[in-house]
Symmetry: C2
């Protein structure tokens, strides 16, 4: 069903609900199908700004750049203050020659082959992140498919299968087959009360047989029938070869271990379902696209914001030049502040008490990523894995294979750790960059024995040690949402907050863009009234 109808489904349902009651509305919902509502209605159409209206934007990440882009179109004068010496924020790509110094002083100089890169921040775009896709197209940022779920990648658990990695297709197929067989057994032996009649019971059994690839006796067996889904031992061939043969099934005991289904589940979520995208050449192509579209945008780099004041007529922001330590105050009519709450919470801000509480209420997650460059694409050449993700219960959590330049020769980079668990992440954060690489190597070689032999160099970003972030993403809880979210998302005097932390999808670029769109909408509305 198309998403774009003249009357939105939501509006139509509301109208039906108001006039004909809930039952009619439910029937209408069923009749209309359940097209999802996208929270991105298209780019904002702002009326012309008041002449000379000035907006100061704090932070040149995606939320800040989008605000500059849309506000300028409507005629605002905008200026950005940015702590770093580059735009993009977490929309960030490390390449050969880049230098990065983390809190604590450790400095890494990236030594990857030409064309190779590492996205320490966002690294993929779900197909339902309509705002990101819209702006990539508008800005001329070429996208390519990003493959997250690959049935041929590995699932590894130190607690199952004797610690030997298994292909995801075998784990998934055998899980589905075994559980379906158990249910068919219960149904066939009349061991359960079913919420259905005899006709439907037969249909259920037929469905179980099909869904689980069960045999005539409702058993999930090693056979050419199940091999069609889980893969073969001896593959089908040509010429004078024997018939293909199935491999042995995995053990139910192993499949039921929590580390197995938890890691498999992590790959089956809506946010990881195909088709995902990535910008060709690195995620920072998006911020570069914005910068191309804002050719003479005044951005003050190396500007560390130290306080934010406002009166009824204007906003004043004080910043310190990180090169010479000089403090400067700039003023504007309005301010869009995209600084992370970790940073914003540590400076004086003139805002409502509710806003100040909200800013200090939300802690940040501490994720860590490690990227390793290898001499050749052994995962493709030896293991037939093209893109996608192997998962493990070790601290590295996953290995993500490149979705670009398949089958090419020469070095390639693997995302070799994406550690989101608290314990693992803290552990990796306190390590030196060299120790992180060693951890990624020693855990990764349990999945790919080729690791040591083919290793060239590596890089890591532990987000708690990133000077301008002090964390990776806002960690909202249900309670904190209730208490603080609305405040954080609402224009406070002349200051609007924006960024992925002001969204229901922290850590995603889509959240940053959607929150920014709402912030400029509020700001513009108030500015026109003023």
């Amino acid at each position: 069903m198309p998403i774009s109808t003249s009357l939105t489904r939501r509006e139509l349902l509301k109208a039906i609900g108001l006039t004909a009651g809930a039952t009619a509305m439910y029937h209408a919902m069923t009749a209309l199908g359940h097209a999802q509502e996208s929270p991105f209605p298209g780019p904002p159409v702002l009326s012309p700004a008041k002449p000379g209206a000035r907006v100061l934007i704090l932070g040149a990440g995606l939320a800040g750049l989008l605000a500059a882009y849309e506000l300028r179109k409507s005629g605002y004068e905008v200026e950005i203050l940015e702590y770093q010496n580059r735009p993009g924020g977490r929309n960030w790509t490390l390449r050969n020659g880049d230098v990065y110094t983390e809190l604590g002083g450790a400095t890494q100089k990236i030594a990857f082959a030409e064309g190779n890169y590492f996205n320490p921040g966002p690294w993929r775009i779900p197909h339902h992140h309509r705002a990101v896709l819209h702006y990539c197209k508008a800005l001329g940022v070429p996208l390519e498919a990003f493959n997250q779920f690959n049935h041929n990648a590995y699932l590894h658990s130190t607690e199952a299968f004797g610690g030997k990695p298994q292909r995801l297709r075998e784990v998934w197929s055998d899980m589905q087959g075994n559980l379906t067989e158990l249910l068919a057994k219960a149904v066939n032996e009349n061991q359960m009360d079913l919420p259905m009649g005899a006709d439907e019971r037969d249909q259920l059994l037929q469905a179980l047989q099909g869904w689980g690839l069960l045999d005539a006796d409702y058993r999930y067996r090693s056979s050419l029938h199940t091999a069609v889904r889980r893969g073969y031992d001896q593959m089908p061939g040509g010429g004078r070869v024997g018939p293909p043969t199935p491999g042995p099934l995995l053990d139910l005991h192993d499949l039921l271990h929590p580390t197995v289904w938890q890691r498999l589940n992590s790959q089956l979520v809506y946010n990881a379902q195909p088709t995902m995208f990535q910008p060709v050449g690195g995620m920072d192509q998006i911020s570069r696209g914005f910068m191309r579209a804002l050719p003479d945008l005044p951005v003050r780099y190396n500007a560390r914001v130290t306080r934010i004041d406002q009166t009824e007529r204007q906003v004043s922001v004080t910043y310190e030049d990180t090169q010479d330590g000089k403090a400067t105050q700039v003023s504007a009519d309005w301010c869009i502040c995209t600084l992370p709450l970790t940073v914003l919470g540590q400076m004086p801000v003139q805002a409502s008490q509710a806003m100040l509480s909200a800013i200090r209420a939300v802690p940040y997650s501490s994720y860590t990523k490690v990227a390793l460059e290898f001499r050749r694409r052994f995962w493709e050449e030896d293991d037939a894995i093209y893109g996608g993700t192997s998962v493990t219960n070790q601290e590295i959590e996953l290995i993500s294979y490149p979705s670009d330049r398949f089958m090419s020769d020469g070095p390639a980079v693997l995302l070799s750790a994406y550690t989101t668990g608290v314990k693992g992440s803290l552990n990796l954060t306190r390590m030196t960059p060299e120790e992180r690489i060693e951890a990624a190597l020693s855990q990764g070689e349990k999945i790919h024995p080729q690791y040591r032999k083919e290793y060239l160099s590596g890089a890591s970003v532990a987000w708690h040690r990133v000077p301008w972030m002090l964390g990776c993403r806002a960690r909202w809880t249900e309670d904190k949402r209730q208490m603080h979210y609305k405040t954080l998302a609402t224009l406070d005097g002349r200051i609007a907050l924006a960024g992925d932390h002001v969204s229901y999808m922290p850590g995603w670029m889509e959240g940053a863009l959607l929150s920014s769109l709402d912030a400029i909408t509020q700001l513009h509305q108030r500015a026109q009234e003023a």
Copy 2:
């Protein structure tokens, strides 16, 4: 586990089996992991051919072209006879301006926009088709990812959901959730004998809860918990929006309908699992790649083979020029015959009685494909479907969305029918090309109401009406394999058959290549002995 080890796993297991018996072998299998054996050991390394040895190749499809490529490398003189006026056979792409006349006389002139194309034959390359991938790389044929399974595409059944298309992710997630809930119910209420102890019973319940996204009461419910897999009604947003909301679940009654799980299953097979590939620009780039690598290859086009004779010393093939009707006989030392059995079975062939029986034993499937070009990518713009496949129980069976040039403007082509069912395929085969387009439109618009409005032009290929094929692919049965396969795959005097019909994967290019490799291996061995 890497496939390439110095001693192959199979050899190692055999050695263990011989020395230590079956149990030891089984344990070794478990310890080694179950890496699949690829039937492609790499390109053949042939010793130099005898000077002047000549091979006549019948058919310039992939099997014929590969034979020419490898035999030439070893020093054979090769010549190809080809019925059509172009190389490639079913490795075939139709583009703007191409003209195709089917049996019965109907002629189609393709009128697609520049860059658009339709592959009537093979259209995707599984990652485990190692021979195809190897030769694409060797021949410099650029590949890109082909997306077959897309959770956001539709499942449509005239027998379920009131005929309204549903997103595959919702169907799949709700199927998994509902069946898991049923099993959890049986386990929880102690309604079944489990093949496990109490400890494992708890682990099973925990796994069911995780695998099915069941709630604390082991129920699969509409909730934000299940929305993480199946998608939302109101998507997560940013700024002043409410929290995301889940949509209503699909009805178990509908999910159990055979048309539902059958069509879903069809997308979950090993041959369709990511990452698949396609050549950039159309499947015929592979045959073009072979032709580039064989610059002065003598190919006699428009040559209809009418008989094949052999003596102990040579092979003689008679062909008729399809332009002037003139018959010619050519001779060579050896012959590789890749003609489809449908064609080969209708001419005099001098071969063993067993071979002649085998040639006539195997019928061919009659598949039909329809491609429609539309004004714009409404499936992307309106439905957020980027590549992948929608499925239906109608005769068109599926709609496949392009995996290239995502988000581009201008017309694009959908594979709008791929009919493999006997009834549907015969039905479409007896239609005129115009009627096939109308069938694809009227069935397709049940899934995409935009169809009529955006339609530009179409093309179809019904394989039973293809003059040089008379069918799509060999339809082997277990019995026929037993009786005839080995004969067909074995050099008969001086003639070796090759093609996907001489493989365990009819219809796949990999089968054609593997069979051809075995044919030239046999031929070379015999030629060296002779």
